[in-house]
Each structure stands twice: as C-alpha cells, then as structure tokens.
C-alpha cells in the first residue's frame, strides 16, 4: 500500500534492465533511484525558493507601480543568483552573548523541517517520493520543526527583538496549526484516507470532482486552510514574527550571510509546500482533466506540470495578498484564529461528516447530474 517512486518505476520493463546493470542488487538500485529523485526534487524546490524571492520583488514592484530588479540578466531574472553569491560571501557574524550551539542549529532545523515535507508532496501520481498512508499527517507533524527553529532562532540570538519575534512566531504557528489541521481532517474524511495518493484518486477528471467543489463545507474549508497556512508560514498579513516596523526583522534580526539565507529559503520553500498541499487537497492535485486508461512516463511529466501550475498560481496569490493587506495586530491575530477560524473549521468538519452520511459521499455535481439517487 505504501507506494514509492521505486515501486512505480518497477512496473516498467526498463527497470529489469537497470536491475541487471546493478548486478541484481535491488537494495542498491532502490537507493540510487531515491537519491536521484531526492536530489532532483530538493534542487528544484531550492530553485523555486530562490525564484520566489525574485517573484516577490517583481510582483510587489508591479503592484506598487515600480520596475523592480532589472539589472542582472534579462528582466533581472538572475537577481536571486546574485543574492545567493552575496549571502555566501558575507561575513558570518555571531552576537557576542549568543547561545552558539542553538544559534547554529536553528537555521538547519528550519531547512530540515521544510525539506522533510518534500518527501510526501505529490508532484504526480508516480513521481511522489513516498506515498505514505499517513502522508498528510506526516507533513503536518514534521513541518512543526519549523516552529521550533523560529523559536530557537529568536532565543539563541539573545536580543530583545529576536526574542519577541521568536515568541510571536512559535505561538502563532502552534495556534494556526489547529484550524489548518481540522480543515485537512474534513478532506481526509471525504477521501477516506490520509495518503496523498488516495486523496488525489478521489479528484480524478473534471474540476467538478475537485474537493473544493465537493460540497459547501469543503469550499469554506479551503479558505480556512489558506488563511491558516498564510499564518503558519509567517506570511503577510500575518508576518508579525518579522514585523519590520516593530521588531527590525524578528527572529532572524541577528543572522547574517547564509544563515539568514537558510531562514529566507526555508520560508519561501515552505510557502511553496503549503501551496502544493492546497493544490493537492482541494484543487485536484496532479490529475489530468481527462481519465486515461494507460500510463506512460511523459504523461507523468504532464501531471508534474499541472501540479506545479496550480501550486504556483496559489503562490502568486500569496504574494499578491502580502502586498495588498496591512499587517494585523497581535490581539487581532489571536482572535481571528481562536474566535473565528477554529469554530468555522470545526463546523466544517461536522458539516462534511453529515454530508458524507446523508449523501453517501457524493459531490454536489454528482447529485445534480445523477438525478437524485
């Protein structure tokens, strides 16, 4: 049941010739395939994270009627490489009274937590590193490492701004995990499984089969998820942990060079992961609009493109929101989470459960077209 990219490739004939190439050593071949795919996915997501900084600046410039970065490469598209070189060559400053061990550990934990989530992100039905039965649950659990890293980064810097930013960040991430998890639970209920493969298989075909259009409750659940996800990734209008006007730069105020780069990269990749999860859970994931009976590898690449398009469109919306809405206050942040989003999410969960029982798990479109049976 636990499908991986290796077990997907094993159904093709060239897998046997590959196996012969490795002298019949299946363990080694599995390791090599996993290694290649891990490197490819991590490399791709790191590039997306880097390009995210470029997109952020370019889109913000567009919204504010400016030009944005335009010096490095055509349309300034190589700006992120220039930034990367700058970060790597900058001096690695550590505050005198910082907690050395935790100061070094915090950016690593942020990257580990984000990269670990890529293991279950369903780029296509075949090219998922591991389609675990507890996929979405694993993703929620392991991404909480980022919360720990935000907190530790704030604590270890031994600076008031960092400390306040870290505390805000940790409390915000813990609070917003609740509505996000409950919204995801509603989708788990509709799909009847926590694996991304199961969830994706339920949304095959036309957009009317997507879970966002499944019933009114899942439609609301998508927006609850999206707002909660914005807060969990510390994006505006919920970017209180790094509020420039109050806290200089929040939990990474004291970080310089590549250690700051790790935090920034982790944030941008996390936004991509969160958008990918939103696309996979609510917007049909990597499914083609038509139901084909055969499966070849080029088709998988088309699926990857579909998934990336959906995820990157959500990514655009995230950036758009950042440059449109003003920042919230701390008390507003907490009252939105506990007084509005959490009750709405619980209401959605109960609503979805009742819907599944009443209509036998059928979507609105199926009920309309099926003539009421």
């Amino acid at each position: 049941m636990n499908q991986t990219v290796v077990s997907y490739l094993a159904q093709y004939e060239f897998f046997d010739s590959l196996l012969a190439l490795f002298g019949g050593n299946q363990g080694l071949l599995t390791f090599v395939i996993f290694m290649i795919f891990c490197l490819a996915i991590v490399g791709m997501c790191a590039t997306i994270g880097g390009l995210g900084t470029y997109a952020e600046r370019k889109i913000s410039a567009d919204i504010q009627a400016r030009i944005g970065p335009n010096r490095v490469g055509p349309y300034g598209i190589l700006q992120f490489l220039a930034d990367g070189v700058k970060m790597m060559t900058k001096e690695d400053v550590m505050p005198f009274s910082a907690d050395k061990f935790l100061f070094y550990l915090a950016p690593m934990l942020a990257l580990v937590g984000v990269f670990a989530t890529l293991a279950v992100l369903p780029f296509s039905t075949g090219f998922t590193l591991s389609d675990m039965n507890v996929g979405i649950f694993y993703l929620i659990a392991i991404s909480s490492l980022v919360g720990v890293s935000v907190f530790l980064g704030g604590y270890a810097s031994n600076s008031k701004w960092s400390m306040l930013g870290g505390m805000r960040g940790a409390s915000q991430i813990i609070s917003y995990e609740i509505p996000v998890t409950i919204s995801i639970l509603a989708i788990t209920l509709l799909a009847g499984g926590m694996g991304f493969g199961t969830i994706s298989a339920h949304q095959r075909g036309l957009p009317t089969n997507w879970f966002i259009f499944h019933n009114p409750f899942s439609f609301i659940a998508f927006f609850v998820y999206f707002v909660g996800a914005l807060a969990e990734t510390n994006r505006a209008p919920f970017d209180l942990p790094e509020a420039e006007s109050e806290l200089v730069s929040g939990y990474h105020t004291e970080y310089t060079g590549m250690r700051f780069g790790f935090f920034a990269l982790a944030e941008y990749i996390e936004v991509f992961v969160v958008c990918g999860v939103g696309a996979a859970l609510f917007l049909g994931g990597s499914n083609l609009p038509v139901d084909l009976s055969f499966d070849i590898i080029p088709l998988q690449l088309v699926e990857v493109v579909i998934f990336m398009t959906k995820a990157l469109l959500l990514y655009y919306v995230v950036i758009w929101i950042r440059w449109t809405f003003p920042r919230l206050r701390v008390d507003q942040l907490m009252s939105i989470c506990w007084k509005y989003l959490t009750p709405i999410a619980i209401f959605n969960l109960v609503g979805c459960a009742i819907w599944v029982v009443l209509f036998n798990g059928k979507s609105v479109a199926q009920l309309l077209m099926g003539g009421g049976h």
Binding site: G27, D99, F137, I140, A141, S144, A170, I174, E177
Partner: protein, 177 residues
Amino acid sequence: MFLQVLFLLSATLTIGCGIAVAVTRNLMHSCVFLLGTLIGIAGLYATLGADFVAVTQIMVYVGGIVILMLFAVMLTGGKDFVSRAQNLLGLAPSMGNKWTFALSGLVGVVFILTNVKLLMSVASSLPTKEINNELPSTVNEIGHLLVKDHVLAFELSSVLLLGALVGAAIIARPRKQ
C-alpha cells in the same frame, strides 16, 4: 537491510541524544537534545511498522510538548540554571547514606536480572528469517479499534482532556475586580 540501517540510526539518535540530555549543563540545550531523542523514538516506531504511532509521536512531542517546554524554560529563566547544575558525584552524598545506596543497588540488580531473563526468552523465540519489508498500514485498524471496540475509553479520555482545557482556561482567566 534498509530497515536495519534505519533502526540503527534511530537507536543511535535516541541513545546519543538521551545521554546528551542527561549530561548537558544548559537546560535549553537539554530540551533540544530531548527533541532529538523523541524523533529517534519516532524512527524506532516507524521501523517497527507502526507508522501512525510514529507520526503521532512527532506531532505531539515535537510540535507540542517540546515547544511548550522551551517556552517554560525560557520564561522561568533557563540561563540561571546553568551555574546551579551539579554533577552526579557532587550530588550523591546529599541523597542518602550507605543503607539507601545498598538497597537501591540491590533493587537495581534484581530489576536488570528480571529484564534480562524476560528479554532472553523473547530473543530466543524470534524468527530467524528477516521480516518482510512490506509493512502493512496500521491507520485503518487503529481507526476501527478507537471508534468501535474501545469507543468508551476514547470518549472518556476526550471528556477528561476537555475538562483539563476548561480548567486551564478558568485558571488563566484574568479576575474581574
């Protein structure tokens, strides 16, 4: 083979971080090493085929308990504990006399012998063949057990947790003058 490597890695992480938790002098560092121990234990669960329990371990401990502990340590002044930390030998004379040490030593020896005897019988009855790599999923079984067979215990524990939550809210609420 793969599972064995993972098991060894998780076991090393668990034991190494566990020792580090005990010997490190900084309370904040202890908390972070505890994080490593708990992740290692999750790895042990995963290699034993309990995927749901492994993920729940990470969810509950990494996402909740460790962050709460870090908060608690920070708000109660984690730095001040560094100077007060004592090593075990310096602490030992204040904890009892020779009779208590002899008694606890005897209890320890009996405990270890009992455990060794229990584990020997388990180890000798283990199948010698390598276990199957394809582990079944435990999610469905856990769901059935929780809401069918053990639904009373499940509901009672949820009522208990709700009571704890309400109690915490009442204690933390600011008193009206």
